[in-house]
């Protein structure tokens, strides 16, 4: 069997506003658009990934929150209606996704061997979280490639960012090893935003872009700092500064996705491609691609 590879790693945030703004047939609410900077960024990411041969998308979503271990979707097919509990006015999406159970189980087993608490999710009634659905839709709206879906273990809340990073670095290595052994070409996706302070009010017209901006200047400075590290191949500095970033920017990196992503890419020292940056209800969101295929032996 040929050696598998990670062909690209992406920061691919999941605000449901982006799906709402696109008016896809799967989503019930209708909009007049909005958040174009980010949606154009996703267009550029999709164009980029379309040029790279890949078999599977591996997503870690901060909205499948597990407190006892890391979990993996373990059945081959899920379909249903995903309603965002926080923005149900924007996101009521009929999903139909396939899971690469073989690769899920392989990552699960590798992570277990590394000492992490892990569990397969085999309940057919389980509703897939809206973070996974949103990132999946924005990257591949046809959902014609199988997914591996990994939960966000909330170890940052139980312990610290440092402990979370240790666990996510380990999970990233297990993910990478399992992909390499699988013979498959994978795109790995961390479904999280950067700074994460929301507005607590919403415009009457949610897509009114005259109302959209970053929650505070401090959040903007943190987002730009982290993006600069990404664009200049300094991923290790992101890992190093993750505790301060997570605390001071109330960043969604607390879910472990960004650390896990950088670990799967062996903490890259080559520049990432920034496809787009924008704010959503005050939070900072970047769409970023690490083009592994150009820098690693694939």
């Amino acid at each position: 069997m040929a050696k598998g590879s990670i062909v690209a790693g992406c920061l691919a945030p999941h605000p449901p506003h982006l799906v709402y703004a696109e008016n896809p047939p799967q989503n019930e609410p209708n909009s007049e658009g909005g958040w174009e900077q980010l949606r154009w960024g996703y267009e550029r990411l999709r164009d980029s990934l379309a040029k790279i041969d890949h078999d599977v998308l591996v997503i870690l979503s901060p909205h499948w929150q597990t407190y006892v271990g890391t979990h993996f979707l373990g059945l081959s097919h899920f379909e249903g209606l995903s309603v965002d509990p926080i923005f149900p006015n924007l996101f009521r999406y009929s999903y139909d996704i396939n899971i690469d159970v073989e690769l899920s189980k392989a990552i699960h087993d590798k992570a277990a061997d590394a000492g992490l608490a892990v569990k397969m999710m085999n309940n057919p009634d389980f509703r897939v979280d809206y973070g996974t659905i949103t990132t999946g839709h924005m990257v591949n709206p046809a959902f014609d490639k199988p997914l591996v879906v990994i939960s966000s273990n909330r170890s940052r809340h139980y312990y610290s960012v440092e402990v979370m990073q240790e666990m996510m670095m380990e999970l990233g290595r297990a993910t990478r090893d399992a992909i390499l052994e699988s013979g498959k070409k994978a795109v790995v996706l961390a479904s999280n935003s950067l700074s994460h302070r929301h507005f607590t009010t919403e415009s009457d017209v949610p897509e009114d872009m005259s109302r959209e901006h970053i929650a505070s200047h401090a959040m903007h400075l943190w987002d730009m700092r982290i993006i600069d590290y990404m664009r200049t191949g300094q991923a290790q500095r992101i890992i190093d500064e993750m505790p301060e970033f997570t605390e001071q920017a109330i960043a969604e990196s607390d879910g472990g996705g960004l650390t896990w992503l950088l670990s799967t890419l062996t903490v890259p020292d080559y520049p990432a491609i920034l496809h787009g940056y924008g704010t959503i209800i005050g939070t900072g969101n970047a769409i970023v691609e690490w083009p592994c295929y150009a820098h690693e032996e694939v």
Partner: protein
Amino acid sequence: MNDSILASYVVPVHPHPLLVPEQNEGWQRLRDAFDEARDQIAASDADVIIVYSTTWPSIIGHQIQADPNPTWTLVDQDFHDLGSMDYSFRIDVEFAEAWNKANHSRGLQSRTVAYNGFPIDVGSVVALKLLNPDNRIPAVIVSSNVYANRAETTVLAKACLDVLGKMGKKAVAVTAMSMSNRMFTEFIEASDDKIHSLKDDEWNRKVLEFLEEGRLEDVAQLSRTIHQQIRVQKVVTFKPMWWLSAMNNNRNDLTGKVLAYEALYGAGGAVVHLDPTSNGKGDKEYDEDDVETYQGERNVLDSEETDTSVAEASPNTGPALWNPAEGEDAVNTESAPKPVGLYPHARRVGDLLYLSGVGPRQPGTNAIPGGPIRDGNGSPLEYDIKEQTRAVVENIARILEEAGSSMEKVVDVTSFLVDMDRDFAGYNEVWAETLGHYGPTRTTLAIRALPTPIAVEMKVIAKI
């Protein structure tokens, strides 16, 4: 004193007592306690069960479930291997809508949700399936706002009490919450379950001792300390005790009983019954501000800078309140707001009734429906003239009723507006729906200010 709350309960959020009580003796004891609470509720005269759930986080203010019959199958994100939870609940939509409106009147960001497939949270599902399995009593569910502070959570409860009083309904209040919420981070056998640490166990027992003594407000005021000591810093805090205490008028003399306290995968799970009957004790040892109207973070979507020192100031700064002047012909009622000087609510002269100027302030709370027009530093605030005008008319109706008169007998009205350009249309619309319907004469004047931060006041003459 509000007497709308017949009983309050604290219940745990994890699904084990619902799905697999037989796997652990402690989980079974929690299930038995749920069943006992269920029987108590069934024997009560409750018109509605109100659930504040910590496992329903929200960001845009608070959300209130308003689907008349939410139906779905829930699977817990962590404990999916324990099984699925089918649910079909009966929601009091009229109450939900009224609560949402009352929230806005008290300055809160709030909205109802009524969408097919909306994911009702595990805490609410466990609570309602076990406490009200046949849906005999309609329910209302409210979220826990991740950014809400004590003031916002307290005002949320007061708005709920406003609605209960207005609708004349009796309620059971439920908080779906853990005590200590640290679970084991490794998988354990059901038989090995215990409270995660001795420290968590000791704090849980101290909190439960307070509740057993009916000292709910003491627990609420210790909420931040409790959170720091035994709560994993998830997005929600120990704020449900703020809500539950405010639902019980911030009392410390309730009659409490802990029906069960057990471990749920390391977290502290308790079923507690709080009876509003006074236990005869109850001195308050702590005293935080009693907030009537929320004036926290607002207008954050606007580009101008917000002065937080102003935003946090009390909106109700104004003249002292007086007891109404007594006299042979005076008409006074506790159902109308207290005067700002020594005068009665109304005075009889022959077969005529002269009312003092009536504003929108609420009796008892002094809250201003539609919001005050300025904060404590005099900075202008957004307000709803229609809400204020309706409240004025309601206060007039209460005074008329006390005097044996009624809206039909109103002869002449003089109205005062502090901003004619801004408010005349809204005021006029409510007038047409209410007093205007009965045909009194009317004069409307623009004035510079009123003594309290209100936008409208009316002076009424009526027949008796």
